[in-house]
């Protein structure tokens, strides 16, 4: 098998990688927004419980989360497809990280904006939706792009719960032909081609948004 054949074989797993990514986003974005907003607005015990949920998804290793739900849900009578389990665990893990940038962006906005909204006779949800959220997007975007990269990279884990993504394809090919250097270089290359444009885009966004490096530093290290 030539390097080109191997590479083409690996790309056959691209659809699973992309499917899990898109489904994961369907979990990550709503969860990140809702959890971050709730954490900002709630007080006391209800806030603590939201924080607890976010921390659970953030602080438990994603591989452990995935195995946990993949194997535990059937024992309580819930049977979900591997795709759904993978997408939801990856998505919620990434979304929990995203929620922190939502909350930070909300806190960073000038209080006067909300007061002006009230003065204009708007209700709180309307202020959030029409005044605060549009302004937050700018601050949140770099983190969201970084999280998207983490999500795509995270999909490589679905190979471990028997789904035939690019990583799994590489393992399959390695059983047909003994050529680890070509197979795993091709696999690295496949992910690099997929993710490098997003990495560059994220770097560009970060430079555009976070001119003051203070904001940049805040983001670092929260995202992996």
């Amino acid at each position: 098998m030539s390097f080109f054949d191997i590479f083409r074989g690996i790309l056959e797993g691209m659809d699973v990688t992309l499917t899990v990514t898109f489904m994961g986003l369907c979990f990550a974005i709503p969860f990140g927004l809702v959890a971050g907003i709730l954490q900002h607005f709630l007080k006391g015990a209800s806030r603590a419980s939201v924080t607890m949920i976010i921390e659970f998804w953030r602080s438990t290793p994603v591989l452990v989360l995935m195995f946990m739900f993949y194997y535990s849900l059937p024992t309580v009578g819930i049977y979900l497809s591997a795709t759904l389990v993978a997408a939801s665990t990856l998505g919620l893990h990434v979304g929990a990280y995203g929620s922190q940038s939502v909350r930070a962006a909300l806190q960073a906005l000038d209080r006067g904006q909300v007061e002006a909204g009230f003065a204009l006779g708007l209700r709180r949800p309307a202020i959030l939706w029409t005044i605060e959220l549009p302004q937050m997007v700018r601050a949140m975007l770099p983190t969201f792009v970084n999280q998207l990269i983490q999500l795509v990279k995270g999909t490589s884990l679905v190979a471990l719960i028997t789904m035939s993504d690019m990583t799994h394809r590489a393992k399959e090919i390695s059983q047909l032909t003994f050529d680890p250097p070509a197979i795993y270089s091709a696999l690295l290359l496949a992910y690099f081609i997929l993710l490098y444009p997003i990495t560059i885009f994220g770097r560009w966004l970060e430079r555009k948004v976070g001119q003051g490096s203070g904001k940049l530093m805040e983001d670092h290290g929260r995202g992996v």
Partner: protein, 219 residues
Amino acid sequence: MAFDLPFLLQILKAIFQAMPLTLAIALVSCAGAFLLGFAFEILRRVNRPLGLLMRLIIDFIRSTPLLVQIYFFYYVLPYYGVVLPGVVVGGMALSIYYSGYLAEVFKAGIDTIPAGQSEAALALGLAPMDVTFRVIAPQMLRNIAAPMGNYFVSILKSTPYLAVIGVAEMMGMTLEIASSTFRYAEPMLLLGIVFFILAATMAWCVRRLEVRLMQSSKR
């Protein structure tokens, strides 16, 4: 999933037995990622061609999954006659993967130090090495302590990846019990709880450190 105390205790015992190895891997990988990341960042600043090359390397590391990097080292090195135990390969992969992120942290940390500092130090006749290690590095470390701490937590949370190449850290031990008893639910839940407590505690310490550093730099 019936409640079975002896089984739970057996799992917990295995997890705690594997905890020192997990922590040791995390610690060594933190040190490795720190040194390598710092080296990457210093090399990036030497001159423009080298800077662009280092940037490509760092971006490559950041744009490929950790799992794939682990597989790469685990399967490709033996092909060229370099046979290393899984722990070593895993620690190496963790160090390399996170060095890409730490290099970015170092970059942000160095960028916040005014250029006048190194110019002044050079003007005073300090050797370039001394400027890097005695003037820039100490100030940078304080700037980046918090984000770096967050990556160290991430390294701890990434140690379960090593289970896929047969390292008997916490996840590996748990999987061993699970596959020998055909009961996956309880071991995985317990492992999740233990990891959650470990990582949350570490993250809490990092936040405390962040608050203290912010207070001390206000003075």
